[in-house]
């Protein structure tokens, strides 16, 4: 057990991680500032197939606190956007990160990062469809 060696390794790790996280946070801040929440509704056309894909796409690009996605999703639902689209949006918001993809590729490996984001995108749409279908079967739609 070598405390100094472990502290040194952690310090060097911090020097590598902090610029990456600062970069991601700066990009997220810029995105949150220049894209107002009401702009999200513009991308939905009412198409039952295209809307979940659009929801997943918007959630993949957007980032921030998950509660923000719930608030936006609640607003989208109230404007008539389908539950499938809104669910895909919520799921990709927390699972997919276009902004942090370069960092993820650098740290965890290119194949891992691309596979995780591509499969995550597809799974989000499947989860959205299954959730909507399950709620319909259970009679508990929103």
């Amino acid at each position: 057990m070598d405390i100094r060696a472990s502290a040194g390794k952690t310090y060097r790790s911090m020097l590598q991680v902090l610029p990456q996280i600062a970069g991601i946070l700066l990009l997220v801040s810029l995105l949150l500032t220049i894209i107002p929440p009401e702009a999200y509704a513009v991308v939905f056309s009412g198409n039952p197939v295209a809307d979940p894909v659009a929801g997943a796409l918007v959630g993949s690009i957007a980032a921030g606190n998950p509660v923000t996605s719930y608030v936006i999703a609640g607003e989208l639902l109230s404007t008539g956007i389908s539950l499938t689209a809104v669910t895909a949006f919520i799921v990709t918001w927390v699972t997919i990160g276009i902004i942090q993809l370069p960092v993820e590729m650098e740290v965890l490996g290119r194949r891992f990062a691309i596979a995780r984001n591509v499969f995550g995108f597809v799974c989000a749409i499947i989860i959205a469809v299954l959730t909507d279908a399950t709620l319909t079967v259970l009679g508990g739609g929103i």
Binding site: R12, V17, L25, S29, T33, Y70, L77, V103, E104
Partner: protein, 202 residues
Amino acid sequence: MPPEERNKNPKSQKNGAGKQQNNSRFPLLFLGAVLLIYAVVAVFDADAAVRSLQAFGGLLRQIIPVLVLVFILMFLIDLFIRPQAIARHLGTESGVKGWLLAIAAGIIATGPIYVWFSMLADFREKGMRTALAGVFLYARSVKLPFIPVMIYYFGGLYTTVLTAYLILFSVIMGLLIEAVDGPEAPQGPPAAPEPNLLTEGV
């Protein structure tokens, strides 16, 4: 593949999660590119750049406690946990216990997904199974502290159904990622006599 052959394989070094990234200039290049984008935005809309920086300050204050937690964990893991323990509990031979551990850890883990990347890279270097790293990252979509908020907006049934699917799909995601990336992180050439398990993965 024997280690000496694997070390000569440039593809495995390129795609690997770890050793070849020692002393990488990527973090500073990435930050520099983002600052360049801010400079361009400031030229066209200075107000947007200032508001973005204010938002950045707010996000930074939220994330600092999580970052401190992650670095403390990385320090303690390097100090106390040997690669054999990671391989036993989260490796290819860990079985059902490994899957449950990865799901539980993912659900409990707080903060944004990217703060956990470096710790996972370190774990993978120590023998963590690829599928379990994927499970951990996807299980993070279940946000325990925010479940009451989700129930408020969408109801209890919706929250229960969605949470169940997220946990189920975290396992599917892990298997899919592993099918593409292999069961273990590819290894690069030994960088130093004493392997640096933390910085290698960052």
